[in-house]
């Protein structure tokens, strides 16, 4: 019989740890840590499949715990479980924590059970050590910039010589382009002439998990961003106006990530998105994506 998977819970409230240990103790080997420091110590001595951390703790935030966990045990899946939906922690959990899910307190036990079960299964399937991706791999694939203004496109084009960089001003254009030249990386704003394209991104990621997305936005709605994590697994969120260095660093990292996904398709499921209720999504943008996906149907997956 397979050994029980290990799940590490981090929270400064002992009662949270107690109830989680009770809820998951029968299924997994549960480790609990009362602080970030304790969590790091446990990560040093134990191989874990899933880390679930609170955000607001004295001395070390959950994002910081997850960031260190990512470096120490890249194969472990990371989940933030927090009562505070603040912009900084959400953006931090995307960019630094590269988290699998952002779960809000109070959680529903059944949903959390499913989420953790998912995470455990994915962690198990992508457990082999990740070998370095050959440098030439990074060179493959283009970048599609979906934005109303040209500044992002010009900046990226200038800093990525030799790499195909395309631009589209509307989702329609972008989809048409993607049908013929599937890009490695999509850099997009959330607000486009078609309106908010979050729903479209969620559908795209659900059907094309290999698409790596960087969202550049001035948008500050926290619940929206949480959905972008859980349902679209965006790779980075950068505030607008965007810092040049931050953008270029993110692009570099996203291209490497894409190359890794190409080399190891088993990693794709690490970005499995929450089931999106198609009926709930009825924006115009989502409709366009659906027809685009219909056109793609029958073709080999462009991985």
């Amino acid at each position: 019989m397979q050994q029980k998977a290990t799940v590490l819970f981090v929270d400064d409230e002992a009662r949270i740890l107690r109830t989680l240990a009770l809820a998951f103790g029968a299924r997994y080997r549960v480790l609990t840590a009362n602080s970030g420091r304790e969590a790091i110590e446990l990560l040093r001595d134990n191989t874990v499949q899933v880390v679930v951390s609170d955000q607001r703790m004295p001395q070390m935030t959950g994002v910081e715990v997850l960031r260190q966990a990512r470096d120490m045990q890249p194969a472990a899946m990371r989940i933030l479980l927090t009562g505070y939906a603040e912009l900084t922690s959400i953006v931090g959990s995307i960019n630094d924590g590269e988290i699998f899910r952002y779960v809000q307190k109070p959680w529903q036990l059944d949903t959390l059970r499913d989420t953790i079960a998912d995470a455990v299964q994915i962690a198990r399937q992508s457990e082999q050590p990740v070998e370095a991706v050959p440098e030439q791999e990074k060179e493959a694939g283009g970048i599609l910039v979906l934005d109303r203004t040209a500044d992002l496109f010009e900046l990226i084009q200038a800093s990525e010589p030799g790499r195909p960089v395309y631009t589209a001003g509307t989702l329609e254009e972008a989809l048409a382009h993607m049908a013929t030249h599937p890009p490695a990386l999509l850099v997009t704003d959330l607000q486009l002439p078609e309106g908010d394209i979050s729903d479209a991104l969620r559908l795209l990621k659900a059907r094309q998990p290999e698409l790596v997305t960087i969202v550049v936005t001035a948008f500050r709605d926290t619940s929206h961003l949480i959905r972008l994590i859980n349902q679209a697994q965006v790779y980075r969120v950068l505030p607008r106006p965007v810092s040049r260095n931050m953008l270029l660093r993110s692009i570099d990292s996203a291209l490497k990530h894409h190359a890794l996904l190409r080399a190891r398709p088993s990693l794709l499921q690490r970005h499995k998105v929450e089931a999106v209720d198609d009926i709930r999504i009825d924006s115009r943008a989502a409709g366009r994506v659906r027809s685009y996906l219909d056109r793609l149907r029958g073709r080999p997956a462009p991985v």
Binding site: R15, T19, L22, L109
Partner: protein, 469 residues
């Protein structure tokens, strides 16, 4: 004969005072008064007129109000002659007999005050004031393009100026009202912003106990279902054992089911923890009620505006409300003295305390300490809130109570928090003091008198102050 006309008299009220100006004359209206508006048509006299005739003219009813008469030839003003001039002639011995028949031009003031009809009232007024001979014996001549237009009376100039000042006064009153209204608006916005922050903070704070309470209840529900199944299986087993007709096979079957169910119950591990589970749940509910009670105490919506309160309790209230922000930045160390109750508008004092505590937390970079201390100082209570955060240089310290001064990035602070705090403490007859050393930390010291003067207790002075939710 000479025709003398006056401009139509200004409307006057019952007391004989000029009615306030209306319409276009009101403040804010940039239209200007010009000398033309107060010109009085006085028929001029020719330079050749005899002194005695001029004297007769002054005696005539129509000229009763005039100090002087203009001397004009071909529309060009040559001078003016005043009653005073005539009087001086006639006061000499045989003055009337000797000089009476001579032309008036030899006795007139040939350098009268000439004011252009287009001149603004203010300009004319300062010109007349500077050049006027004392005692005032003459008015001034109004000219247009060098030609005689009429006379201007110094008194009507004064009247116009007075109205002007009154209008300005009104404008100032209105500007002041406007300013007060916008300030009240800003104070209100600040209050709403801090209220919003506070509510968001407490709402989030409630999510933690809510998290484990909910989870525990869900666990208990699952557990009770499982236990119920096990109970039924156990009951079935007992019934089978007591049934004489039951076969060994049936007993074995029921035994197996009951054992499995009991194992399933044991496997959850909840049985041993059931006590803890319920204790935690009750604790969580206690936490939630405490937060709600604190929220209510903090706002004091259900209490009198001015109340007798224990400031230690106010500090605890503010610390609870601000806990979500404070707990990840600092350890709070309390040194509470034994305090008598203090008369104050508690909701306002709470707002001040929360404001200073959140500032203290924000001043700490990583993790530090906030020390709160209280003590009695004669007829006052002193509260000290000290952090070991980044501190501030004197240039910042000197300005922190200034309205709109903020060191936070745009959009993160209104710069009103401490200025409102300062006002609140001042209105209570207290004092607020700040000591800071860059790199070492900041200490705020508040002093509040135990009693408010009666006038304040009537909450007249405190009435206008912003109130924390």
């Amino acid at each position: 004969m000479w025709i003398i006309t006056r401009p139509p008299p200004r409307a006057r009220n019952a007391r004989g005072r000029p009615k306030p100006m209306t319409g276009r004359c009101m403040a804010g209206n940039r239209s200007t008064f010009r000398v033309r508006d107060l010109v009085m048509q006085v028929h001029p006299i020719p330079p050749q007129m005899r002194v005695t005739d001029v004297a007769d003219l002054f005696l005539a009813e129509a000229c009763a109000n005039l100090l002087c008469l203009p001397v004009v030839r071909d529309g060009v003003p040559l001078g003016i002659v005043s009653r005073y001039d005539i009087m001086r002639i006639f006061l000499r011995q045989y003055g009337r007999e000797v000089f009476g028949a001579r032309p008036i031009e030899r006795f007139m003031n040939s350098a009268p005050l000439l004011v252009n009809a287009q001149a603004e009232i203010e300009t004319a007024s300062s010109y007349v004031r500077e050049h006027m001979r004392l005692p005032i014996t003459e008015d001034f001549v109004v000219v247009e393009e060098g030609r005689y237009l009429g006379m201007g009376m110094v008194t009507s100039l004064l009247e116009k100026m007075e109205q002007r000042v009154a209008a300005r006064g009104q404008a100032l009153v209105r500007a002041n009202q406007h300013l007060k209204a916008s300030q009240a608006h800003l104070v209100q916005s600040e209050k709403m912003a801090s209220l919003g922050q506070m509510v968001a903070g407490v709402a989030h704070e409630i999510n933690t106990p809510l998290g484990y309470v909910r989870s525990n209840v869900e666990l208990a529900r699952d557990f009770s279902q499982r236990t119920a199944t096990a109970l039924i299986a156990g009951g079935n087993l007992v019934r089978t054992l007591l049934d004489e007709r039951a076969t060994d096979e049936e007993i074995g079957e029921h035994l197996a089911v009951a054992t499995t169910e009991l194992e399933a119950v044991a496997e959850t591990g909840i049985l041993d923890e059931l006590g803890n589970l319920f204790d935690d749940t009750l604790h969580g509910l206690g936490e939630i009620s405490e937060l709600v009670v604190n929220l209510r105490n903090f706002s004091r919506l259900d209490r009198a505006r001015v109340d007798r309160v224990n400031l230690n309790e106010c500090l605890e209230s503010a610390l609870t409300i601000g806990r979500n922000l404070i707990k990840q930045k600092a350890e709070v160390v309390r040194h509470y003295g034994d305090l008598p109750d203090v008369e104050c508008a508690a909701s306002q004092i709470n707002q001040v305390l929360l404001n200073i505590l959140t500032n203290a937390a924000q001043a700490i970079d990583e993790f530090g300490e906030i020390a709160v201390a209280t003590r009695v100082l004669g007829e006052q209570v002193e509260i000290s809130i000290r952090d070991n955060g980044c501190g501030m240089p004197e240039s910042v310290r000197a300005r922190i109570f200034d309205p709109f001064y903020t060191t936070k990035p745009v959009g993160q602070g209104t710069g009103l928090g401490l200025s409102i705090s300062y006002q609140i403490i001042e209105q209570h007859g207290g004092a607020i003091e700040v000591n800071s050393t860059p790199g070492e930390g900041t200490e705020f010291i508040l002093r509040l008198p135990l009693r408010q003067p009666d006038a304040v207790e009537d909450s007249v002075a405190l009435e206008d102050m912003p109130e924390a939710g």
